[in-house]
Symmetry: D2
Subunit: 245 residues, 4 copies
Amino acid sequence: MGESAQDHASEVKGGPVKANPYNWPYNGNLKPDNTALVVIDMQVDFCSPGGYVDKMGYDLKAMRNPIEPIQNILKVMRAEQYPVFYTREGHRPDLSDLPPNKRWRSQNIGAGIGDPGPCGRILVRGEPGWDVIPELAPLPGEIIIDKPGKGSFYSTDLELILNMRGVKNLILVGVTTDVCVHTTMRDANDRGLECLLVADCTGATDIGNHESALKMITMQGGVFGAYTDSKQLLRGLKMTTESTS
Amino acid sequence: MGESAQDHASEVKGGPVKANPYNWPYNGNLKPDNTALVVIDMQVDFCSPGGYVDKMGYDLKAMRNPIEPIQNILKVMRAEQYPVFYTREGHRPDLSDLPPNKRWRSQNIGAGIGDPGPCGRILVRGEPGWDVIPELAPLPGEIIIDKPGKGSFYSTDLELILNMRGVKNLILVGVTTDVCVHTTMRDANDRGLECLLVADCTGATDIGNHESALKMITMQGGVFGAYTDSKQLLRGLKMTTESTS
Amino acid sequence: MGESAQDHASEVKGGPVKANPYNWPYNGNLKPDNTALVVIDMQVDFCSPGGYVDKMGYDLKAMRNPIEPIQNILKVMRAEQYPVFYTREGHRPDLSDLPPNKRWRSQNIGAGIGDPGPCGRILVRGEPGWDVIPELAPLPGEIIIDKPGKGSFYSTDLELILNMRGVKNLILVGVTTDVCVHTTMRDANDRGLECLLVADCTGATDIGNHESALKMITMQGGVFGAYTDSKQLLRGLKMTTESTS
Amino acid sequence: MGESAQDHASEVKGGPVKANPYNWPYNGNLKPDNTALVVIDMQVDFCSPGGYVDKMGYDLKAMRNPIEPIQNILKVMRAEQYPVFYTREGHRPDLSDLPPNKRWRSQNIGAGIGDPGPCGRILVRGEPGWDVIPELAPLPGEIIIDKPGKGSFYSTDLELILNMRGVKNLILVGVTTDVCVHTTMRDANDRGLECLLVADCTGATDIGNHESALKMITMQGGVFGAYTDSKQLLRGLKMTTESTS
């Protein structure tokens, strides 16, 4: 990276949440009316023994580390009445919405989508493995988006619901950092939504990918938005609450 | 990454193009009727002195390295009558399609979208900086997709045209690896398109991000498709041509 | 309408199903591999006493007339293994996907979406009124699309599934002719899908609107496709089956 | 229609513009910040001798009657600084975005899209016939949406731009009432946009279709929004201006 890019990025600008490469949100406008938390794919299949990620042979620890910091954020944001969204990756039981290349790849790696496993059929809606993990169970009234892909906007009603709610800012947590969280962040960003990824509330199947996914956000002055950690987010939310009460 | 994931990924499966983590395309069905080359954002603003990337202070070399290998691929794929698509990132002159956070970030880093620069207004349609670089100029009949975002599907007619042509496979080249190329690959992949990124025909503003963008593709058995280099692609295309002639 | 338009439209062209303004499909390519039946919104709320349409004060007869001809088509198309899709209009129980103007209008007319009624909460997913009527109950393996709007493509996975199946032609039946059937036909047509509306398998809250919805299809040489009746459709399907067996 | 439906519809509710079946907009919130005028397809190909509609043999009078009332609306809405959008139906010169069935139908009726005609190649971008008619020429800074289909949202950046502007209400004029105006109204309505069609500012290739297109709007309490005429619209806009100045 050139010198001038680094210099610009290090200036303190933006909103109440200390973040990288700018303090978030860019326009300082952060409140329950315009900001939602999105908890991405914290499902048994991604986070628990016997699920899809476990069957592929990845270490589950990186998937489970975000649980506690997400709980901390949920507690505060629920209390402050920020809307909470959940997403679940999964396919129809007949697999009619499963692209054949996605199926083929999962079979190659020993975790065929739709095949039976310890948590039921892998990544299939209605199976035990497809549920959100009990540690992060959605409350009644929280919105669950079922998606067939990695992004949360494609083939779902997420955009409609965000528009109806007047949501302008998204706080993104969940797994995996570089796949579903990042794809959702990119697609939201293209729609003009202002996005914040909370690093310790996310995890990836490879630690290098996790770190690079964070760094990618900071290019071009925040090409997909910004990232922070849960401590800074909670501090920023607290400042916001106090200043408006 | 666990052992079993690595073992599965190293098995030789798939199509005529040697690639990582599987030989591409997965089903071996590669021909001009179902496969398109997509040249992403090889514009003056991204690849030439005085443009957007240069003004942000990044090294242009990584943007220009892909030019020659893309020329090699274009030569062969045009001769074999594969359809060629180009994308250009850019905004309407009135900036009505420019999200305010995207503008703010670009201003912060010293390269405000819509502001005047040595190549005209930055990232604005119709300006000199927005053109595809002359080294890779599209031929008459090649399709250009103008997009306001990082992904090539959002707010464009790309999906319609691909469907009308019966395209099932996309070969992706251009810049930057981790931003517009990757976002397009992710959005194409969610739609069931089978994608191949050609590593030496892409470049990023940060070499670590470039390498991580490649590695991310290989997770989960090829979560977004596969990647290769131009030498392997040309070898695979040649095999395909010979076997069908 | 001018003379020359009428003359052109009356020429016999197109596929095996006699239809207006051309015989369908335009390219003669009609088979279970590329053609799907879509049964639109034949739900208790639209077709049965106590439901949404009944509460608005419309005559249910027009909603129920299509039941028998749809049964006839289902019998034949299921036997020939054409894929069958169903759509259901309905909203999330928290009404997060219900535009406020849609709610306001429904309240004005005395049938507030989300309000309790004899068939449960009106147009809410999971309620008795939201089910497909038992006379046309989907079989296991038939695909149900839940949609928040009048069109079947917006905020749904219909396009993904049609693309995965290679569907090019849609045969449209259900209610109401001028609202959900027509909006779906228009949106499918814009995507290049070849559409046929089966007139006696549809119905509207106003007979004049029903007839005009048919006529609109015939403008500009078939601006949204073509329409026929169930007798002609069954004849065309039979010809197709015999010629390929 | 049943009695109760009619009774409800005739009650006076809603906003400052007298309309049918309710006064528009439903929530009374009408101002340049949240409301746009959309002038649909008032192109030479639809409205002038030698264009697409003329070649199909339809009477051009119905296409030209809306010109004067649209001019009246434009004058007032421009003065009050309401944003003005234009749409143009048209295809890429290589016809890559033209579905083959659409082409086939247009050829059948003697006005093949892409074929040469007195106004240039029919419905092709860049040709004389594709231009907006000079009587209604867009002013600099007014937004033009080029669309390949009948709806204005599919394969375009319209939704992005409306969201960036905070537009919630659309006032629709242009041609043809039952095809492009209605499809756009339906697709906007599904997205929660509050729509008003101005009847004398629209026209159809068949007068019966025009009238039915209006009536369809009024079903279900205003299933796609409401319709009015230019006199009532101007009166409502005037009331709005006076009450806020």
